[in-house]
Amino acid sequence: MDSDEDFMSAVSSEDDILPDDSENEDMSGGEDFDDFDEPDPDLGISKDFGQRKRVAYDIPFQVYKPADIQKQQDELVNEVNMILDIPKGEAAILLRHFRWNKERLIEDYMDRPRQVLEASGLALEPASLPKLEVLPGFMCDICCEDGDGLESFAIKCGHRYCVDCYRHYLAQKIKEEGEAARIQCPSGGCNLIIDARSLDLLVTPELTARYHELLNRTYVEDKDTLKWCPAPDCPNAIECGVKKKDLDKVVPTVSCLCEHRFCFGCILNDHQPAPCELVKRWLKKCADDSETANWISANTKECPRCGSTIEKNGGCNHMTCRKCKHEFCWMCMGLWSEHGTSWYNCNRFEEKSGLDARDAQAKSRVSLDRYLHYYNRYANHEQSARLDKNLSQKTEKKMVQLQKESGMSWIEVQYLNAASQALQTCRTTLMWTYAFAFYLARNNLTEIFEDNQKDLEMAVENLSAMFERPVTELADSKLKVELMDKTSYCNKRRIILLEDTAQNLADGRWTFNVELTGSAASSGPSNRA
């Protein structure tokens, strides 16, 4: 028990040092925040949409620091503590048991308090409190020990193991697998979750800190509207009301206080304007071998008789298959003997024998060309964004240098930083426009899209070229103004493009050449990337 009280007191002390941020206060204020399944907060979000109607790609979200998260948990615990009149430590256990769904907890508890307490491991009778026992004739099924005085433990399912094995098991779960609130009984096929009181009894001191850290995380992990910022070492969580089923309509990019921009739907880095499903397909396509097969069919031909794959790397059109000695014409794939006297100059076109082979090949060539067209541009922007990133590290130095040489103040050289930021964001957006376009079926809107894409691309290239000039030139006030103009033009083009794609996506006006939702589940093993 005392560990839970520890957790509570730690919370309240942090509470005190939390700066009184009125905006945070507003968002985290108990009721209108914690249950996004209810209709009420949904209205809040659509209202928010209404206010920001001008920017369809901009999704409302809120960043929470660890102290905010703690505070929200704390408020929920306090509330349950007051309404149900149970100690705070137990309220926390109950809330975790109910996956932080306060309404359900209160309702269930009002209906049948005994069952609720029992199910979450908070048995009332002291006799059924978890304890270690020494039973005569006991043998542990894990280590096969059966000595006298062997301490053993079992939860309600009665699967009993020695304390040592139980602790080994918990250490594995907590330390290696990061589980805490929902560790199951070690017995095979027994799904009973080990309750909090039993864990308090069994978790060894060196694991306590980790155990409580993991427990606190359940708050974010249990809520669909909360997600951790995936940036390394970032402790913040982000709240966003976009649901999984909406991901074909919206690309919910959020950005953390640590400046990491990511997609709330799939946790990957920002991939506007392409929807999550397309991103998933695109990345898979780029990673797997599917285009190798296309290359083979586009650049090789198969012997019309035995089917061996042949790449022609020189010489005349009179082919003799090495395997089956079949003689044919490389150009028309027809029999060589049919060529008669038109040696080495195939000018026959409509002969039936070669038609089918050419058709199939033309198809894979078009498909490969199409993929490579988009892939090359995608990869190019990806690489440029990486190079620009190196450049931005140099920008820091540039800015210092500029301050020294021209006597400008720190604030006056910020335009370099702004330019470098704009370059990177716009490159990322451009990169994903190509993946997006790959899956886009042509209609009237694609032309507008391609114009927007072209405009942004030109703006970015212009800015990029200018940005690479030596610092001494950039210090010139005329160039400075020009650079600032170009920077803001880039940002504006990006917003126009995102605005257009997001609006059409929300209205369902794009047509894709793949299914955007409900991709068939793949069978067999899926190797981790």
């Binding site: 894990i142 193991y161 098991y169 594995q172 095979g188 069978s523 093993p525 190797n527 981790r528």
Partner: protein
């Protein structure tokens, strides 16, 4: 976790195995506590496995039995890899029991052998898993690092 925990348990298991094993399961070698080999065969006359004996290799980590052992079939001239929709032709087995999620520390070498034995006995499909060829050619991962999808509960 110390090696001794695993060793102690394996020593106990070995003692029990040396005393008796269920029919159709035989210990081939257990020279150390890292790797054991056993032979299993199907007891009824399932035409798919009639007259065949299969060699199993168990590899134990230091965290055994808290974590599952690595179990694969070994291909030898007189020990074919059994044909089964959950067994790849390189001997890798797709069985939830052997994965992080399905494993329980109460399982042991004998129980794993029996599970595999019954998995073969109950099988009527003369086929490899879907995508076997591609998987066998492309896989560079240890069995424990493969993310199997345990979606098929029929065989």
């Amino acid at each position: 976790m110390s090696r001794s925990f695993a060793n102690k348990r394996l020593a106990k298991e070995l003692q029990k195995i040396n005393n008796s094993l269920p029919p159709g399961i035989e210990l081939v070698s257990a020279e150390n506590f890292d790797e054991w080999t056993l032979d299993i065969r199907v007891l009824d006359d399932n035409p798919l496995y009639r007259g065949q004996i299969h060699r199993l290799k168990f590899k134990f980590g230091t965290t055994y039995p808290i974590e599952p052992p690595e179990v694969t079939f070994v291909n030898l001239p007189d020990r074919p890899i059994p044909i089964h929709p959950h067994i790849y032709s390189n001997g890798i087995i797709c069985l939830d029991l052997l994965g992080q999620q399905g494993w329980s520390p109460v399982q042991n070498v004998e129980s794993v052998c029996m599970s595999l034995q019954s998995m073969l006995t109950g099988n009527t499909k003369n086929e490899r898993p879907p995508g076997d060829e591609e998987f066998v050619r492309g896989n560079r991962l240890r069995p424990k690092d493969i993310d199997f999808l345990y979606h098929d509960n029929t065989v």
